[in-house]
Every structure is written in structure tokens, then in C-alpha cells.
């Protein structure tokens, strides 16, 4: 698999349910970030978790990071129709490799 692959590729849930998306990566990282993209629009930074952190919260978002498994998950609780979007994980390597490497994304659809 490539650096930064999300699964599932697509997810449809009922409004109010929780949505979980997973991301795997291959190389060592400094941090991992999650972004949201509404259809055809820009990338919105959601949350950043550093390699020495295991869990982070921001509002309805919860991110976990397991560096031993090279994986992360994004949990959106109490989903809303407005959460419908594509979600991408992106990793930042260490010094000398600071560019973002994006995953393939999960298309999340919230059914009202």
C-alpha cells in the first residue's frame, strides 16, 4: 500500500451516528494531519497529532495514532449532514522531508 491510505474508501452513515476512518502509512513521521475537502473545494485542516502523542480531541473529532502499527484513525461523533465530505490523512516526515504526503481519502456521506 502507498504512504497514507485510508479505509474505507467510502462510508455512508445515518445522521447522529459516529463515523470512523482509518489511515495507514509506511515511513516514519513527525506528525499526521487530517484534512476535510468538500466536493471540488479547498482543503481544511482538522487536527494534527504528533508522533509522540497517542490520542487527541478537538470538538467532535477524536484522532488516535499508533506508530508501532503505522496507523491512525479519525472518529467523528454525532455526525451531521454538514460533515459530508472527503477526509484525507497526510503525514509529515522528519527534517529534510517536511512535505505533506496525502492518502487516498475516505468519502463520507451522512444521510439525514
Amino acid at each position: 500500500s502507498q504512504q497514507g491510505e485510508e479505509d474505507p474508501q467510502a462510508l455512508s452513515i445515518q445522521e447522529g451516528e459516529n463515523a470512523t476512518m482509518n489511515c495507514s502509512y509506511k515511513t516514519s513521521i513527525n506528525n499526521l494531519q487530517w484534512y476535510r475537502q468538500n466536493s471540488g473545494r479547498g482543503l481544511v485542516h482538522l487536527i494534527l497529532i504528533r508522533s509522540n502523542e497517542r490520542e487527541k480531541h478537538s470538538g467532535r473529532l477524536r484522532v488516535t495514532l499508533d506508530t508501532s502499527k503505522k496507523s491512525s484513525s479519525l472518529l467523528i461523533t454525532a455526525s451531521r449532514a454538514a460533515d459530508t465530505a472527503s477526509y484525507f490523512c497526510a503525514t509529515v516526515g522528519g527534517f529534510g522531508n517536511e512535505k505533506l504526503t496525502f492518502g487516498t481519502g475516505t468519502r463520507l456521506t451522512i444521510i439525514p
Binding site: 481544511v44 527534517f95 517536511e98 505533506l100
Partner: protein
């Protein structure tokens, strides 16, 4: 909240023409980037820029591409002779610390080459 501004939001150009995509990064950021996303595909890194020079570029960023910071606020991406496969959404981003605290992306320029 500070924003990265990109113009135009949409540009249509004929194959072989030159295009310049413009970005105004956040004023106290020092690191600037261009990424692109071909429709339905991953977001891909093109180039990073710091201290008035390119710090890293991908294999996509060939001789047809160039970047410039012509003044204290603008950051531009030029494509010299556009090809059909250059059609994509181009995102500018900036960071104050090489991305270790995160990036701020602009809303993108959709480039359509016909």
C-alpha cells in the same frame, strides 16, 4: 483567522498557453508550497519554497513549472506551456515552521486546459 488566498478560483486556458496561478500566503509564514489534485485522485506535492528558493520539488515539477515570490506577499506558480494533463486543482499552502505545526491551504485554483 488568517487565510491563504488564491486567484483566480477557476482558469480555462488553451493547450500550449502560459498560465500564472497566484497565492497570498499568511503574512508571518515563511514556508510556501504548491500541491495539485487531478480530479478523483490524491493530492500531490509539487514544490516547497523557503528563503526565496526552492527547497524541494517533486518529479512532477519539471522545467515547465516555475515558482516565484515577486514581492513580500505574493507567491506564484507558472506553467510555461500547458498540457491537457495539467488540468487539476492547484492548492497553495503556507506554514510557519515547515509544517511541524500544520499547514494552511488556500481554496484552490481549478485549471482546465482545453
Amino acid at each position: 483567522e488568517p487565510e491563504v488566498t488564491q486567484t483566480p478560483s477557476h482558469q480555462v486556458t488553451q493547450m500550449g498557453q502560459e498560465v500564472i496561478l497566484r497565492c497570498v500566503p499568511i503574512s508571518n509564514h515563511l514556508y510556501f508550497y504548491w500541491y495539485r489534485q487531478i480530479l478523483g485522485q490524491k493530492v500531490e506535492f509539487l514544490v516547497s519554497f523557503y528563503n526565496n528558493e526552492i527547497s524541494e520539488k517533486s518529479e512532477i515539477f519539471d522545467d515547465q513549472f516555475s515558482v516565484e515570490r515577486p514581492d513580500g506577499s505574493n507567491f506564484t506558480l507558472k506553467i510555461r506551456s500547458t498540457k491537457l494533463e495539467d488540468s487539476a486543482m492547484y492548492f497553495c499552502a503556507s506554514s510557519r515552521d515547515r509544517g511541524f505545526s500544520g499547514y494552511t491551504f488556500g481554496s484552490g485554483t481549478r485549471l482546465t486546459v482545453v
